[in-house]
């Protein structure tokens, strides 16, 4: 169910495009990389797709395009842009169905960790989860302007 929801979110986020605000910020950052740092609460990856310098960007709630192993003792993380991730998670263009209408997917058909065979999950902070300890990139130390950003308004 969680995976189906995230497969749907990935599918929808892929269809979205960075807007002028993403582009303007990305361009301003390219022109003034020592002055500005962006912390985004978005998980859609649109800032990256707008060409935002990765060194000046932290997605504090993770992003939809990274998967990590669910096992606490496994550190596997990967970038994964596939849609669908596995055949069982193919998404139709319809709205996400009600709880009752979501078919159950056998565990074996979900994405698994190539390292320990544990279940993979989106590297996104779920509701009620703690934020991971943010490793502040060294570039932040030299930045004099910081900046908070969330795309309630983005497409």
């Amino acid at each position: 169910m969680v995976w189906q929801f995230y497969a749907y979110r990935r599918h929808k986020a892929r269809l979205a495009k960075p807007n002028s605000a993403h582009l303007a910020l990305a361009e301003y950052t390219r022109q003034n990389p020592e002055k500005i740092f962006t912390i985004t609460q978005n998980v859609d990856g649109l800032s990256s797709r707008a060409g935002h310098l990765e060194t000046n960007l932290v997605a504090m709630h993770g992003d939809l395009w990274s998967l990590k192993c669910e096992k606490y003792n496994c550190d596997f993380v990967e970038k994964n842009l596939k849609d669908p991730i596995v055949p069982a998670l193919a998404v139709s263009d319809k709205e996400f169905p009600d709880d009752e209408a979501v078919p159950t997917i056998p565990n074996g058909e979900l994405p698994h960790c190539p390292k320990c065979n544990g279940l993979l999950r989106p590297a996104v902070v779920f509701f009620n989860e703690q934020l991971p300890g943010l490793i502040i990139p060294s570039v932040l130390i030299t930045c004099r302007i910081s900046y908070g950003h969330r795309a309630g308004v983005v497409i």
């Binding site: 807007n19 002028s20 605000a21 582009l23 303007a24 910020l25 361009e27 301003y28 912390i39 609460q41 504090m60 934020l131 943010l134 502040i136 932040l140 130390i141 004099r144 302007i145 910081s146 900046y147 908070g148 950003h149 969330r150 795309a151 309630g152 308004v153 983005v154």
Partner: protein, 89 residues
């Protein structure tokens, strides 16, 4: 992040697409203000999760001390940052 903002001076924090009064963003605004920095909010609406009187007062103090520009961010941001989007495309 909030600790980092307490320990380091930020001249100006732009809060974009969020009211800046809801945690965790509110904590960041607060930290920047405490260190003497400025906070500018760009948001489509002056939205609020404030339900109790204390929340309203808290929000009132916040809004009084922050620059608030209402409108669609895809229009406000390019102008505020002086970026000509048409030239980029």
């Amino acid at each position: 992040m909030q600790e980092w903002l307490f320990d380091n001076h930020v001249d100006l924090m732009l809060v974009i697409g969020t009211s800046g009064v809801v945690y965790p963003a509110a904590g960041y605004s607060w930290s920047v203000k405490m260190r003497g920095g400025k906070v500018a909010v760009f948001n489509i609406e002056r939205d609020s999760g404030a339900e109790r009187l204390e929340d309203w007062m808290f929000e009132g103090i916040f809004f009084l001390s922050m620059s608030l520009t209402l409108g669609p961010c895809e229009e406000l941001l390019p102008e505020a940052l002086g970026i000509n989007i048409a030239k980029l495309k």
